[in-house]
């Protein structure tokens, strides 16, 4: 048999996951840049740091802490989805995807509702600007994850995933956990580190 | 070799201009020394590397089809030519730090002058209250004593500018820091009386190129005399405005005049009622060609109106312009009939 093009290696860390991890490192730098502006503004701010006078100081209840718990639990449900399809259970995959998606939507709605009751806006001084920019871009990323989860749900409904063939689910799960981690950092910074 | 010389000669002719201007402050002398050291190191590296490159190009031209010896590398050689640049870098760093420490020294009793940069000119304010603001036609002169330390406080009214005097081999940015951060300072001691050009060196918008000034260094006694005289010069009292004078109206907004043609009667004084609608400084000045006929005082808006009283003019066509923004949009024709 004459020489063919060399056979491709089977196994090894899947290419789409390598791509997702690389993409997530760029996202780390993006949020890093935004966090840097937060800390820089905080460090050089003369006066009390927080919402402008007239608005209430940031409190973890009744919204911030609950939506944090919602997002954290959505990481668990996401992982349940991944474990389900690794076992080949497409039905359970779909269920857990829908739950995760729902929790994600709850988070975004909660965030949006919080915006309406906070009492200050993006144009209300340095704190307002960095607060809304950071939480806003994080929320947008959660929404992007929700879109991804919806696509996965639709594909799962069509039976496109199996135990051996579900790399898209794994990739989206990496993204989802990342978005959760960013929120934990953001939540601690805004509500505890202050 | 002839080819080599032909390449080098024009380069050498240009090299004369590769040395900094005559340093006119004590700090500039130090900077110039550092420049020469680093330039010398750079020139050495250049001659060595470029020299070898040119040599290799001639010496190793392909002459036959033999394959040269396939050297892949040599660790010892790599170490040597890593160490040599490291040494050069350390020399550069250490000498830079010495120079930096030396030029950053602060003296106890400098002459303090506040330098305010704005789009697109400068105001210099002295401790005794005297201030001068430049305009496009007449850039301001920063008068300083030679031989005594001078400390400039650099304040910006709007965007970032930079205070640059080539003869002092230095510039410092004029930054509109917020939040109570102290303004940048520049301290120098001029070594000899003289006049030295300067201009803004941080791109600051439309007329960045026009933001020039001059530094004039006087002997200390002359400086003291000048400063006393400048502070005590009283502004000419505003003349009382006679009634029944012709009034033309003009306003400025968005760096533009509202009208570009005004008409006034000849042979009698008239009033230019000028409204500055914005926060940017403007004025109205009247020229006959390049001859200044009238310079209105600076008006800082927004929504400030002044009456400029202008002396009688002969019939003809003149130009009115804003000295701070001598651009098309702030130029017009004054018809005097």
């Amino acid at each position: 048999m004459s020489a063919q093009a060399p056979a491709r290696r089977q196994g090894g860390f899947p290419i789409p996951l390598v791509g997702m991890l690389l993409f997530l490192s760029s996202e780390v730098m993006f949020f890093g840049g935004l966090f840097a502006t937060y800390f820089s503004a905080r460090a050089s701010f003369a006066g009390p740091w927080g919402p402008p006078s007239g608005a209430e100081p940031l409190e973890i209840l009744p919204i911030a802490l609950p939506i944090t718990l919602i997002l954290v639990s959505s990481s668990f449900t996401m992982h349940a989805a991944v474990r389900a399809i690794r076992r080949g259970n497409s039905g359970a995959l779909r269920l857990w995807l829908i739950v995760t998606l729902g929790l994600g939507l709850l988070f975004v709605s909660g965030q949006a509702y919080d915006y309406t009751v906070l009492g200050f806006g993006i144009s209300d001084g340095v704190f307002g600007t960095v607060f809304y920019t950071l939480t806003g871009f994080h929320g947008a990323h959660v929404f992007g994850g929700v879109v991804g989860l919806s696509i996965l749900t639709a594909r799962a409904g069509q039976g496109q995933f199996s135990a051996r063939n579900h790399v898209a689910v794994e990739a989206v799960s990496y993204y989802w956990h990342f978005v959760d981690l960013v929120w934990l950092a953001l939540f601690s910074t805004l509500y505890f580190l202050r | 070799m002839i080819r080599l010389a032909a390449v080098c000669l024009p380069a050498l002719l240009l090299a004369g201009c590769l040395f900094p201007p005559e340093p006119m402050t004590t700090q500039a002398e130090e900077i110039r020394t550092l420049f020469l050291i680093i330039f010398g190191l750079g020139a050495l590296v250049f001659v060595g590397v470029e020299g070898f490159l040119i040599y290799a190009v001639f010496r190793y031209r392909r002459r036959d089809d033999r394959l040269p010896a396939q050297h892949h590398g040599n660790t010892k050689v790599e170490i040597v030519w890593t160490i040599i640049p490291t040494v050069i870098v350390l020399i550069l760093f250490v000498t830079s730090m010495f120079t930096l420490g030396s030029i950053s020294a602060r003296s106890d009793n400098p002459v303090v002058i506040e330098v305010e940069g704005f789009q697109w000119q400068w105001t210099f304010r002295y401790e005794n209250g005297y201030a001068v603001t430049g305009n496009f036609i007449e850039p301001p002169v920063l008068v300083v004593p030679a031989g005594d330390p001078v400390r400039l406080k650099l304040i910006s009214r709007d965007v970032i500018h930079s205070f640059f005097v080539p003869a002092f081999l230095i510039k410092v940015d004029v930054v509109p820091f917020g939040q109570g951060q102290a303004p940048n300072e520049l301290e120098f001691t001029v070594t000899a009386p003289g006049t030295y050009r300067g201009q803004c060196a941080e791109f600051c918008g439309l007329l960045h190129a026009s933001m020039t000034f001059t530094v004039q260094a006087l002997a200390p006694a002359d400086f003291d005399a000048w400063l006393a005289a400048a502070a005590s010069a009283t502004p000419t009292p505003a003349a009382s405005v006679p009634p029944d004078l012709h009034v033309v109206e003009l306003s400025a907004d968005n760096i533009a005049f509202s009208v570009h043609e005004l008409e006034v009667p000849a042979g009698e004084p008239f009033i230019v009622r000028f409204t500055n609608a914005e926060g940017v400084d403007h004025n109205v000045a009247i020229y006959d060609g390049t001859e200044i006929l009238f310079t209105g005082t600076k008006v800082t808006g927004p929504d400030v109106t002044v009456d400029y009283l202008v002396d009688a003019l002969d019939p003809g066509e003149y130009t009115f312009i804003c000295d701070f923004h001598p651009i098309q949009a702030m130029t017009g024709t004054l018809m005097v009939r």
Binding site: G33 | V49, F177
Partner: protein, 557 residues
């Protein structure tokens, strides 16, 4: 057993040439699209340079007003960096890297196409400023508060921000693609340390793009929020910090300049060995030097801010000077490659040598600027303009032309005319030095940058005239290049797989390659598989082959 070709023999599936190029996901076509798009922006930004140099030839405003001039240098810088010199190397890399790795395409072909098409979109957004009352005019560095709404009113700056965000996102997607391809799709036998050196420089470049560009995106978004939503990031009048913009911008901006130059240095490292018939001296040292430059590039950003008064000068002077060391190591390795080589001066080789000479000058002027007290005098003067053009143009752009002459035969099956190529090279070399060497002097004498006009009694007129003459010579030098490309495409000298006796795998297939790239690959035992193949019967070279590792998976034989 007969081999079957994989290219379709029948004409049952045919579509128009235009639709093919618009919808292609083939890395080779996408590479060509990148290169053509980049050159279009190169010529436009070059025209803007001629506007600048024409105006500055003598004192007085002869041709344009200040506003037009300020837009011209802003757009010239922005377009040259973001729409020419970075994407053109993405284009060459797109074409060449999968071939050099023995791969059939990039890891994500459709994202590859998306990354390309976002470029003309972003570029058009930036340029459309001219149609809405004025393009961005705050310099390519967009310093605040100058680019805030009250000092830069109008849509031009907003379009500039949006266009750059699109271009930036495109390059981040591209970097994910390149890095995945390099890590995962190398042919068997090609360990990381047997990759061509050009692939190494692409690897580090793309890693820098991946990690630095998002910071720019964050900054651009922050500026957009300031301008349009009442934000307080950088505007001191509402509590913001104008210096914060400079930190964010330069944290990206400094790695950006290495993103620009590293691929060019990689191309030189491919061309020198081929045309000296010797391997790259110190391949491993070169790899480590490239990685060191990449890492160090994140630690020097504030050397652009020495005169702001708020920077810790000793640290940044030290780290900036430190980068000279790995850069010097590379230069010396190149010299050692030439040493006792058998040199032939094709146009590609001339441009590679040009890169070395010009980058040397640019590097030296950069190290001069690293010394903070010297920078106090030279910052924001024409000395910096000279420095950046020696590295960006003399280094990177000459590297672009080196790549063009070197890989044109592979891409088209025809070799560019060497006589015309040499005319192009010498005109460009003389014109370039005439334009920019005097600018060192102009800066040292105190001429600031970004000024539309200067005083007649400053003493700068003669040097400006020389510089302008050089600029027109550069423009003229493009004529033989364009003529060469057109006539060669129409009726140039045809070549086979390996016209240069190259070292790397792109020369192991036809010119141009088939869609699937390779029918077969030679054994990969070193960074020069084609050289090894050509000299496999040379008894003097066997010892090197004897030390090679055996690939873990071998093709059927």
């Amino acid at each position: 057993m007969a081999t079957t070709t994989l290219a379709p023999g029948s004409k049952t599936y045919e579509r128009s040439w235009v639709l093919d190029w618009l919808t292609t996901v083939d890395h080779k076509k996408i590479g060509v699209l990148y290169i053509v798009n980049a050159f279009a922006f190169f010529f436009f930004a070059g025209l803007l340079a001629l506007v600048i140099r024409s105006e500055l030839a003598v004192p007085g405003l002869q041709f344009v007003d200040e506003s037009t001039f300020n837009q011209a240098f802003t757009m010239h810088g922005t377009l040259m960096i973001f729409l020419f010199v970075v994407p053109v190397f993405s284009g060459f890399a797109n074409y060449v890297v999968p071939l050099m790795l023995g791969a059939p395409d990039m890891a994500f072909p459709r994202i590859n196409a998306l990354s390309f098409w976002m470029l003309p979109l972003g570029g058009l957004l930036i340029v459309s400023g001219y149609l809405v009352g004025g393009a961005a005019a705050g310099g390519w560095t967009g310093y605040n508060p100058l680019t805030q709404e009250q000092f830069s009113p109008g849509d031009g700056t907003d379009l500039w921000i949006m266009g750059l965000a699109v271009v930036g996102t495109a390059s981040i997607l591209g970097s994910v693609n390149f890095l995945t391809t390099i890590f995962k799709m190398r042919a068997p036998g090609m360990t990381l340390f047997r990759m061509p050196i050009f692939v190494w420089t692409v690897l580090v470049t793309q890693a820098l793009i991946l990690l630095a560009t998002p910071v720019l995106t964050a900054g651009l978004i922050a500026l957009f929020i300031d301008r349009n939503y009442g934000g307080s990031f950088f505007d001191p009048s509402v509590g913001g910090d104008p210096i914060l913009w400079q930190h964010v911008f330069w944290f990206f901006g400094h790695p950006e300049v290495y993103i620009v130059i590293l691929p060019a240095l990689g191309v030189v490292s491919e061309i020198l060995p081929v045309f000296s018939r010797k391997p790259l001296f110190g391949y491993k040292a070169f790899v480590w030097a490239t990685i060191a430059i990449g890492l160090l590039s994140f630690s020097v950003w504030a050397h652009h801010m020495f005169t702001t008064g708020v920077v810790f000068l000793p640290f940044f002077t030290f780290m900036t000077a430190l980068i000279a060391i790995p850069t010097g190591v590379k230069m010396f390795n190149w010299l050692a490659t030439l040493w006792r080589g058998s040199l032939v001066f094709t146009t590609a080789m001339l441009f590679a040598l040009g890169v070395m000479s010009m980058f040397l000058i640019g590097g030296i002027s950069g190290v001069m600027l690293a010394a903070a007290p010297v920078d106090f005098h030279l910052q924001d003067t024409y000395f910096v303009v000279a420095h950046l053009h020696y590295v960006f143009f003399g280094g990177a752009a000459m590297g672009v032309f080196a790549s063009a002459y070197y890989w044109f035969p592979k891409m088209t099956g025809r070799r560019l005319n060497e006589a015309l190529g040499k005319v192009h090279f010498w005109m460009l070399f003389v014109g370039f030095n005439a334009t920019f060497f005097v600018q060192h002097s102009l800066g040292i004498q105190g001429m600031p940058r970004r000024i539309a006009d200067y005083s007649a009694d400053a003493g700068w007129t003669e040097m400006n005239l020389i510089s302008t003459a050089g600029a027109f010579l550069i423009a003229a030098s493009m004529v033989p290049f364009v003529v060469n490309v057109i006539t060669t495409l129409l009726n140039g000298e045809k070549v086979g797989d390996d016209p240069w006796e190259g070292n790397t795998l792109e020369w192991a297939t036809t010119s141009p390659p088939p869609t699937y790239n390779f029918d077969r690959l030679p054994p990969i035992r070193s960074e020069r598989p084609m050289f090894d193949l050509r000299h496999r019967d040379d008894p003097n070279l066997h010892p090197e082959l004897a030390h090679a590792e055996i690939a873990t998976i071998e093709a059927d034989s």
